[in-house]
Symmetry: C2
DNA sequence: TATCCACACGCAAACGTTTTCGTAAGGTTA
DNA sequence: TAACCTTACGAAAACGTTTGCGTGTGGATA
């Protein structure tokens, strides 16, 4: 098992100094052509690769972007990561991904770990628990230590930093409008509890759309689901004996679950009930009927977030701080779950 | 913007030496109680966190596991990562995830980057291109430099290292047997091209099951799909005018796509045609009808892989090399796409 | 022959730790 | 008072780089 070869070893073998080796590998004119060639040949032979750790220590930067997301087994978030990776790779950055598993503690641990030397900046969507606790000290601390943070999707309004979001309200409004324009009047919404920022925003969008159509929102048409893992029974209860003509669900799972329950009730989609979801994932695409949905353009979010972060990382040090909030357009993807 | 505080700065402020600070923070008896308390108070106040990079350099280990997967937007792989993270976090390891995007070049780049200081060992499922090219020098090199590698799912037989796989053949056999036991006789398989190791293994399992039932396999019942992104037309062509009573698909997407096409042909699932898929993802679970499938137990794979890797990382240096191949049991999840 | 200048290379510091070893100060013992 | 032991701390090396600067050697010039 040959160990990794270092400059020191090459220097020893070739009987020159470490600096000579380093400079030779960089093709410095300080070093004679002869020596340069010898060193490079040797380095190639032994497959020398500079040690990133040492470089990071020396340069005080890691060329690494830390991404922290609430869930790793989640189509939308992985799509965003895809976008981040695209930009990062182009610009020579590495990407470290950590999942907080929606736990505040794990988010803190991950952030602190990455912040202590492993990453230069962060792209972050906060955990459910964090939104609930409203404790952002870890993020503030990271920023105050000079590491830029870009928040996306589940952001925190109180935090002053770059952000990439979609206009959740507008998206929800678009979805609801679509249903209204189809002639639906009895439109229910399946949403999350209010402390999830995106859930609340989408609920508001739904309400705004109804108002614009002069339809009074009904409390009993709004279901706020707390426990996503057991949404099925909640939705089933909610849907029992309700005479709806449309459902707007704030995510794929709610939409699909509702569709299945309606199916079992013998209702036809979209003939009896139309459904619009949120997030364009594989479920929406492949479900029968395929689901009309609001696309969040996850990859685009990742791309923009990465660009914002890298701009900060590579920008002038003493430029006055200026933070942007990028709003990604949502779009309605019409499929079979809403009638034409 | 207060910069990160280092031992040196604390030392300067408190007018002691760096070593004193370091020892004090570690509660060394060498340092007087007085000094210890003073240092600790100061460190806390300024929120001192040891710099991981410096530690890595010093300790020659990073306490980080590198995971390289072919795709990040992929349910199975993210499930595996979930398992890896579980174990890693328990044992105090960090997890870095990189995706090769099924590109050989990117796999090489990622591996080399992580290998040059960022990770102590690797958990890796190789890119499609790598399997095709049969070029494994980057992996061999990594191992020869003393960094353990655990291969999972898409492994390479020629490589001598730890591996975690499922018995793809057995799983496929189980799936096919299930169909046979239901009385199906005309069973087609939707599989991948042969250079994808798991595809080939599953095809073989299918063939074995048929043989055991004394059914001659028919060439025209086997579809090897090259381009997953455009599988729909291939499958549609294949299914045209075929009088099948069952389909075994080696992944979720093929299964769902076939189901949709059959639907359009007016065939009922499972009454006219039964379908068994592979991989227990959200699609299989939520599709209507829900799909009978072979579960790969992705999380378990991740757990086992992480354990194998950490064992190697923490094992004695000079213990004779010994490599294990862990085979995870697959299981058949019966749902609605096969008749009872 | 004394002076100067390239050339080609080495020294050493720095990045932030940890840890071994050395040592000054002060107290105890003989 | 000399010898010794604690106590409490500091110096320095090491991890692997990069880089500014110093310097020895040899040849060219005056």
């Amino acid at each position: 098992m040959k160990q990794k070869v270092t400059l020191k070893q090459i220097a020893k073998e070739l009987d020159v100094s470490i600096s000579t080796v380093s400079k030779a590998l960089k093709d410095s004119v300080e070093i004679s052509l002869d020596t340069r060639q010898k060193v490079k040949a040797f380095a190639k032979l032994y497959n020398y690769k500079p040690n990133n750790i040492a470089l990071s220590l020396k340069n005080r930067k890691t060329k690494t972007i830390g991404v922290i997301i609430p869930e790793i087994v989640h189509h939308f978030f992985t799509t965003v990561i895809g976008g981040v990776e695209k930009v990062a790779n182009e610009k020579g950055y590495n990407v470290i991904i950590c999942s907080s598993n929606n736990s505040f503690d794990k988010e803190v641990i991950n952030l602190e770990m990455l912040a202590s030397g492993s990453a230069d900046g962060f792209i972050l969507s906060v955990a459910k628990e964090t939104q609930q606790k409203k404790d952002y000290h870890h993020i503030e601390e990271t920023m105050s230590q000079g590491m830029p943070v870009v928040l996306f999707d589940r952001i925190i309004d109180e935090l002053v930093c770059d952000k990439v979001i979609i206009d959740d309200g507008k998206g929800a409004q678009m979805a609801t409008n679509h249903l209204l324009s189809l002639g639906c009047k009895k439109i229910a919404i399946l949403t999350t509890v209010d402390y999830i920022s995106v859930g609340k925003l989408r609920t508001n969008g739904y309400l705004r759309a109804l108002r614009a159509y002069d339809i009074t929102a009904r409390e009993d048409y709004i279901l706020k689901i707390e426990d996503i893992d057991h949404c099925e029974s909640e939705i089933a209860d909610f849907l029992k004996d309700k005479d709806l003509d449309a459902i707007f669900a704030v995510n794929e799972l709610f939409a699909v679950t509702a569709a299945k329950i309606l199916n079992n009730q013998g209702k036809k989609i979209p003939d009896d009930v139309s459904i619009v979801g949120f997030t364009d994932g594989i479920l929406s695409k492949h479900f029968i009927p395929s689901l009309t949905t609001i696309s969040q353009h996850g990859e685009e979010m990742g791309i923009r977030a990465a660009k914002l972060l890298i701009d900060k990382l590579e920008g002038e040090e003493d430029v006055p701080e200026e933070y942007k909030t990028v709003i990604i357009d949502t779009s309605l993807i019409q499929r079979q779950s809403t009638k034409k």
